[in-house]
Symmetry: C2
Subunit: 298 residues, 2 copies
């Protein structure tokens, strides 16, 4: 069987079933971060993200921004669990023909965004590789009572996103701001249902929330904030690499957020019972069932 048939999530699903973990693992694979016991008040978050030349960036992109992206992707995972970033290690695969200045600029980009979010770079590994590969593994901390997962959405919750969606390929995928401050603000002031960051596209990542929370959902086209860089609505729904927060709040909390929010968040839909599946209501109020879909690696 070829990987393209099984897909990234099919592959991960098969592996997850075979893994057993001990009691120090609160949440293993299947969320944005693993959640581990730490101390009386906090959990430790642990995540990794690999970016690859010609898939996630090209040699023509600004190397500073490539390095920045590699670290920011993991920061976004920490944000989506409402954590704060603490430490990271970086594995670099480098072709022999890469110039030292290119690598140095990548490193400056990594350091810059890590410093911005008080994340210590504490180690790394460098290997020879035909294409540039950067894998960042990050540790964070989250107060136990603040932890947000994909699995906490309840029917009638309102669904929000933290920014405009689509067209990320035109630049945002290299320059996005990981939403750590927004997530902390939400955790400090609201009771979050479920949260995830949009890396594979709104529909795909909403599908992760509905799967893990065992719920359905409805999205309203009229409400979706489409970036001016998006080619069309489809792009905003499935384009991927927006790295915005996608989260749910109970109705009364949602009303409060819309009225008084310090940051701008867009309500885009509502959580439904599981049997409803995922429903899309277009601007003419036509209702259709949709399947989670988005960026696929294979």
């Amino acid at each position: 069987m070829k990987l393209s048939k099984l897909g990234e999530f099919g592959l991960i699903g098969r592996f997850r079933k075979e893994i057993r973990t001990d009691r120090s693992v609160i949440r293993g694979s299947g969320d944005d971060c693993a959640v581990l016991t730490f101390d009386r008040y906090n959990y430790q978050l642990f995540t990794c993200d690999m970016i690859v030349e010609n898939v996630d960036f090209t040699r023509k992109d600004d190397p500073f921004l490539i390095g920045r992206k590699a670290v920011a992707v993991s920061l976004s995972d920490i944000a989506s669990c409402c954590g704060v970033s603490k430490h990271c290690v970086i594995s670099l695969g480098l072709p022999q023909n890469v110039d030292f200045r290119f690598v140095q600029q990548m490193f400056k980009g990594m350091l810059s965004v890590a410093n911005s979010f008080k994340c210590n770079i504490v180690g790394g590994d460098i290997s020879r590789c035909e294409k540039i590969v950067i894998d960042v593994s990050m540790l964070g901390l989250v107060e136990k009572k603040k932890l947000a997962l994909r699995s906490g959405a309840k029917a009638k919750d309102i669904i929000f996103v933290s920014g405009k969606l689509g067209g990320s390929i035109r630049g945002k995928h290299l320059k996005f701001t990981p939403r750590l401050k927004e997530a902390q603000y939400l955790a400090d002031n609201y009771r979050i249902g479920a949260m995830i960051d949009i890396s594979d596209g709104l529909l795909q990542d909403l599908g992760h929330i509905t799967d893990e929370s065992r719920v359905g959902a409805v999205l309203f086209e009229k409400l979706i904030p489409v970036s001016k860089d998006a080619v069309n609505l489809q792009d905003a729904l499935t384009g991927g690499e927006d790295f915005e927060l996608l989260f749910t709040l109970p109705v009364h909390e949602a009303k409060k957020l819309i009225k008084t929010g310090k940051f701008k968040f867009w309500p885009v839909g509502e959580i439904l019972e599981k049997k409803e599946g995922i429903i899309f209501v277009d601007k003419f109020n036509k209702v259709e069932k949709v399947r989670p879909c988005g960026f696929s690696h294979f």
Copy 2:
């Protein structure tokens, strides 16, 4: 400037200078693991290792052993700080043409060695990549009083290795046993000076100990345990991927180890003052100064 001119360690050295870390980092990059504050009695260890197709393995190798190696390399880093392994996350870069069964066997190899050493696999990431790339990031714990670093060697310490060296390419590099039990035994019963695992070759890794400890060293050819798989002495000195422990003990502790050791360790030399450099005494008692050298990625 091309990377080959600067080399892996030149590159790492340049980056290290620019990194600032906060007080929760006991030891950042520059050792086998980062050492982080954890609780009253323990430090947390954090390390990452990337292995790459056609550099560290080929598509003709047994996929179970490829997966096993990817995890075992990080376990070896935890061992060299005298820690116990706790959790790991795994980033996989996979070409589209890899068969599912190949990936599944790799995963079984990872799971098998992780389970053997009670290491939870708690997450991962899968990307498309032209060659197979596996990056494992691992967390461990070490009792504060047991922590071993590269920097603890003192003049007159005796230098030991935990197994025969060289010829790893003929099979051992895929099948080695990470020396966690041996390291725990040493930490429980002896006062270790410095420790490292031999990944780049005895001479190169001894060089890391002498650099970080600001000492010199002498090695005696007659004492070096050469594997039957080694092509020659040079191979045992610089071949790399032995994944044996290289460590130092004060003289009286060394005598005790040689007399009563539960595991077999080989004394191979002695730590000297820094000004002596690294000296090699061949089997005819000819003395020569040597430079640390071994496997280079660029």
